[in-house]
């Protein structure tokens, strides 16, 4: 009696369990990438096109650039797709990666509350903007997570001659989290923040925030893609990984990147040149 009633539930459980966790990857690669490419929705746009063309499934693990590089150095990814040229070159030079291909760029912007206590609205000079923020001791939310955006921000503080880290915990606040999370925090506490444009445009919790400073050449943000070195890690899916890299830098891949837009605005610009000189 009971067992009959219970047995009605059994197929349900079997169905749930049969879905089969951990089935081995057949044709799939793991790409270690950044929160900006995930949070902006770029991969949701690119990957279906690539998979339809090649049959290769792409599994994206989104972390800050620093963490993504660590993952790849441990051999836990087949392809690295990040945005910090200096660390990418180091990654290749140390033998973890085969070769770096510049793929696309976008730019950073400084966002902040419309009230703009540090009076930076309309500034083109990003360094001057940071100097005003520091002088006003206006709150600034930093990624603080060793990501590409965080490193770009540190370069700007250096150029501004300000030791922002020394003010950590006062007006300078290190969130230690991804771009979207940092924007949530910034909006919540009325703090300025450096963001990539794509994540900002796709971000849905803008509150009364706006782009205040943009257009500085120092805010240029280059992305690169690298196949993890199969000589170092025998399990790396070199052929399929390279196929992904090759597709990204092919005319079709570059066009797919250009076609991606957020709210009608193009946010990533393919800039691979077949003959880099």
């Amino acid at each position: 009696m009971i067992s009959r009633r219970l047995s009605l539930l059994a197929p349900l459980f079997v169905a749930i369990l049969m879905a089969g966790p951990g089935q081995a990857l057949e044709r799939g690669i793991v790409v270690a990438s950044t929160t900006s490419t995930q949070d902006s929705g770029l991969f949701d746009h690119l990957l279906p096109i690539f998979t339809a063309r090649t049959g290769i499934e792409v599994r994206v693990v989104a972390r800050g650039t620093g963490q993504a590089i660590k993952l790849a150095q441990n051999g836990d990814a087949d392809v690295l797709f990040v945005h910090d040229t200096a660390s990418e070159e180091k990654f290749v030079a140390e033998g973890y990666g085969v070769r770096r291909f510049p793929v696309m760029y976008n730019d950073f912007i400084i966002v902040g509350p419309k009230a703009d206590p540090a009076q930076i609205a309309g500034l083109k000079d990003s360094v001057a903007a940071l100097q005003s923020i520091a002088a006003a001791k206006a709150p600034f939310a930093s990624r603080g997570d060793d990501s590409g955006t965080h490193k770009a921000e540190q370069r700007l503080w250096n150029a501004a001659g300000i030791d922002a880290k020394a003010a950590s915990g006062t007006w300078y606040r290190e969130t230690g989290s991804g771009m979207g999370q940092t924007l949530n925090l910034a909006v919540g506490m009325g703090a300025y923040a450096l963001s990539d444009r794509a994540t900002w445009l796709a971000f849905k919790n803008k509150g009364d925030f706006a782009i205040l400073a943009e257009g500085d050449r120092r805010l240029f943000n280059q992305y690169g893609v690298i196949l993890v070195n199969p000589e170092r890690f025998a399990h790396v899916k070199a052929a399929d990984g390279q196929a992904f890299v090759d597709w990204l830098i092919s005319p079709e891949g570059q066009r797919a990147i250009d076609d991606f837009n957020v709210e009608g605005q193009q946010v990533f610009f393919g800039n691979y040149k077949s003959d880099p000189s």
Binding site: L6, L25, D76, F203, K206
Partner: protein, 233 residues
């Protein structure tokens, strides 16, 4: 306020339309957490009962250890399991990182102490009650453990539900070892974290409401099963 209203609307919309992505994520959440709890039951229940019944040196210390491990921080467990399963780690050759199996393993580590510690308490109380009877029947420890686990099965269900609650609600461990990969390792909690970081708070909260509803369903189902079993017993 507006976000909260929007969250309810979003979650009902997702449920009513049986959103394909949502169904997939819900099933994966259930699958991962139920497997973890199932494995934790197989290990944790006998372990808890053994600690309750057997007399061995350091038994109290083990009991205290089990209880404190109930509060294991998920991120730390995630990190440890990551280091074990990473290609650079001792179990790297298995290639389990960023698969649902890795998530099951991490949740198993989180849940087993909860199941074991609560089982120890239940069995210890039963033992106090039935010790003489079992001894007079000449039951050995193995027999006694089996008898008491069976006798306490309804109370022990609470231990398993507590474990399931912990497993299905945590995000720290599955984020690290699963990687929140779309269609592969994305579960309810990591999807909520992702939508939060996209600033889509209404959708994030909507998913949260569904997760809570799911937990209600599982607990409700467990109570129904218990009542059916009792009325039949």
């Amino acid at each position: 306020m507006h976000d909260i209203a929007a969250a309810f609307a979003t979650s009902f919309g997702l449920i009513l339309t049986l959103d394909q992505g949502l169904v997939e994520i819900v099933l994966r959440s259930l699958q991962v957490s139920l497997l973890a709890v199932g494995a934790a039951a197989i290990v944790g229940l006998p372990l808890g009962a053994a600690v309750a019944l057997l007399r061995f040196p350091g038994r109290r210390a083990v009991a205290i250890l089990l209880s404190s491990l109930m509060g294991l921080p998920p991120v730390v467990v995630g990190l440890i399991v990551y280091l074990l399963l990473s290609r650079a780690g001792p179990l790297g050759v298995l290639g389990l990182l960023f698969t649902p199996s890795a998530m099951v393993a991490a949740q198993f580590v989180l849940v087993t102490p909860i199941v074991a510690a609560l089982a120890r308490q239940v069995v210890e109380d039963l033992w106090a009650e039935y010790e003489e009877q079992l001894r007079s029947l000449g039951a050995g420890p193995r027999r006694a453990i089996a008898t008491l686990l069976w006798d306490g099965r309804f109370s022990l269900m609470t231990a398993l539900l507590a474990g399931f609650g912990r497993a299905s609600a945590e995000v720290g461990a599955v984020m690290i070892v699963g990687g929140n990969i779309d269609h592969v390792t994305r579960v309810m909690t990591t999807a909520i974290a992702l939508e939060t970081s996209k600033g889509d708070l209404a959708l994030a909260l909507g998913l949260g409401l569904i997760l809570i509803a799911l937990s209600l369903l599982v607990n409700g189902a467990a109570f129904v099963v218990r009542d059916l079993a009792r009325s039949g017993a």
